[in-house]
Point group: C2
Chain length 449, copies 2
């Protein structure tokens, strides 16, 4: 069947006839409306329906149904900087080999205007067409391993993602970039920190706060920074690379176990809590500057160990005034396996709840205390409530984020042990940087006044 | 019975004999040990047991049991700045009348070294002895209305605190200062914002991150700042006044519905989220500088309205990967009255949970979406998960803190209505500044790198 720029049949014929190329500005006049925009290549994901894809001036791509009665004309030839897809197939094989694993999310999303569905695929060609500089950083491969919104990711997805990363490491990749929705990215980045031991190369999570078909997208900046880290950083940790501030000046690599999404919409939503970021990245200078202590160094001779089972019967609860003790009782009765409390202050919850917590622990359900303050460290020796909680067996979470404690407990129960004593030992031991024993009192942001 | 500096019997006699005064450095030599420290007055709270109270060089007060065999001597006379208690009884009656209501917590705690129990009482005399400058700011009265750790405060305590404040307002007080434990202070401050309508004067919450018998205490600085705000501020809102930075330079008054305890131990733990603080306070200059828009102005002619019922069957849950939908089902089955979700990003929770949420709403249980990012605003129109949640009736929480949304829903259900439509209207309407409709994207702190 006739094919041209990915289009087929009648549309391929007419586009070839008028000499249209990807990147040309074209006009399509239907009976009702006139559309103008940049001709986009036809991708498999759009199926075989008779649509032409153009990028409108507002940055959105739309698919226009072609019946045969439309007038289609080229208004302006593409600018030189837009280069055809296929020339990028010639990658430089001596560069570090980086694999991009897509799981879904805004960074790789394209709205399919036929179905309204988000298609989270991004091919190597598309990526290199979009961010040509990456071809000077790495020799890349791309795979779609999942296609879910990050809010729908579960511990079983963590197992799948860890397996895929592990396989790439075994195959000798020089770094892994994971495209992931931002909502739950920090949880997955923490999960990967625990799930693969003895990492030879970095695992770099990257996302976007604004989708790639919007003019204000942060996708390209973040992706380039992520590839720089995957290719060049001296560490082999699970990190999140995102904008460091709102403008395109630098990105930050945050340790996956010490990072949190702190804003619903800003580009610099991800921030390290109780730790400095691991590195500042200046994409325009191709520079990765280390600014914190590295825990795991890059070393391709290391053999990774996969420990990717996560228990999905762990719950997080938050202390609030009037917290109902019966909620703990219900969770125990229903057979949940572990409880993370986001306590108040130095690690407290109402004394009314202590009996229920005691019962949970007597039934071999580990209960871990973190703080909803987020910044600072749990210290349960200062006040009597804390001491009582310790005396019934609550495990203090030190300066761990509640989210990281949740992931860690889920991992311990799934991959390590269900023995309460050993759980306590592991939860209170720093494994991959999740507990920062150094004085972190100054790691507190400055609020605007 | 013989009495001297609050001491009685034998101890009073010996202290008078050696000419000891409060503030003198004394030495007590027992058979086993020698103690040196500053002589403290004997307070009623220590009972009548034979103890002398001294402040050690490390800042802690201890009670030393006196059997009669000890040698007690004055080493150094008190410095002039330490003034006797009773002269403060002469308060200036033309100053604004401020009442200090104690609920408990570190700021008014004194460890009773006989029993180890914390005594959260603070008399006017003690307060003025401790912070003499307050006598130039206000004519004060002090009452202990509760004596609980803040982690044990429940919605029924909110009702009590609101009644007490209301009574003081009715009696014509010029401002109310509430001493409160810091753990749950933000929740109570938010509750008071809703519970008293048409406030004539400010409600000023104050606490301490370090107890008042430690040298590093922030109690005095915070209390002076709180009294300045209660006496002088032009607003009549429920605010929290605490250190603005770690040193004793300025305090901040945060709107009670927009503030959160963000650090387990720093003095400047309280920070405004998605809003500026209402005022900067410079205690050394007796200055209260307004830096944000005032919503309720001070006006003693206003008649306050008490709406202090809070529903204690509201729950807060947090979205996490693998959140178990059955938790929502359990809460519905158990007859809870309202659910606040701390969703991810712009206001999401896994699509797996939507059916359970739908069922909850069908059973007339309001479900409100906030964001665990804390900064920024819920926007449920951007992604399909958000749109689905809206379509089943989830109420979007705008830029409200999860904690404030919890307090507000509890208040609406207790004091206003259980009609779902009206709940939605109230939850999405700004009442006391809890929803900030202005662009808050720049109200984001700067993290250290």
């Amino acid at each position: 069947m006739d094919e041209y720029l990915g289009y087929k049949g009648y549309i391929a014929r007419i586009l070839r006839e008028i000499g249209a190329e990807v990147g040309d500005r074209i006009r399509i006049s239907t009976e009702k409306r006139i559309f103008e925009g940049i001709l986009m290549p036809r991708e498999a994901l759009y199926g075989e329906k008779p649509f032409i894809i153009i990028k409108l001036d507002n940055g959105y791509n739309i698919g226009i149904r072609i019946s045969g009665k439309e007038k289609i004309e080229v208004l302006e030839k593409r600018k030189k900087r837009i280069v055809k897809t296929h020339i990028f197939r010639k990658q430089k094989k001596d560069l570090p080999r980086i694999v991009l694993l897509s799981t879904g999310g805004t960074i790789v999303s394209k709205v399919d205007y036929e179905t309204g569905a988000v298609k989270p695929a991004l091919s190597v060609d598309e990526l290199l067409e979009w961010i040509p500089e990456i071809s000077n950083i790495a020799f890349i491969d791309a795979k779609e391993i999942l296609s879910v919104f990050s809010e729908d990711i579960t511990p079983s997805h963590w197992e799948k993602i860890a397996s895929e990363i592990y396989n790439e490491m075994i195959n000798g990749v020089d770094g892994v970039v994971i495209a992931h929705g931002t909502d739950m990215m920090a949880y997955t980045a923490a999960a990967m920190a625990f799930a693969i031991k003895n990492k030879p190369v970095p695992i770099v999570f990257v996302g976007a706060q604004r989708s790639s078909d919007r003019p204000s997208t942060d996708s390209a900046f973040n992706l380039k920074a992520a590839f720089l880290v995957a290719a060049k950083a001296p560490f082999a940790e699970s990190v999140i690379v995102m904008h460091g501030e709102t403008s395109d000046t630098y990105a930050l690599a945050h340790r996956g176990v010490k990072v949190r999404k702190m804003h619903t919409s800003r580009r610099d939503a991800f921030q390290s809590i109780n730790d400095y970021p691991l590195a500042i990245i200046y994409p325009d200078k191709n520079e990765v500057k280390i600014i914190n202590k590295i825990i795991e160094f890059r070393d391709k001779d290391k053999d990774p160990i996969l420990e990717n089972k996560f228990d999905d019967k762990v719950v997080m609860i938050k202390a609030y005034p009037g917290f109902q003790p019966e909620i703990i009782d219900l969770l125990v009765d229903k057979g949940f396996h572990g409880i993370i409390i986001e306590g108040s202050g130095l690690g407290h919850i109402s004394n009314r709840v202590i009996d229920s917590i005691k019962r949970a622990i007597e039934e071999e359900i580990p209960v871990v205390m973190t703080s909803q303050c987020l910044f600072g460290r749990v210290n349960m020796h200062v006040y009597s409530t804390g001491r009582k909680l310790l005396s019934v067996g609550v495990i203090p979470g030190s300066d761990m984020l509640p989210e990281t404690a949740y992931v860690k407990l889920s991992w311990i129960l799934g991959s390590k042990t269900r023995d309460l004593k050993e759980i306590r030992r592991l939860m209170t031991t720093n494994i991959v940087g999740e507990i920062n024993s150094r004085l972190t009192i100054n790691l507190y942001p400055r609020w605007p006044i």
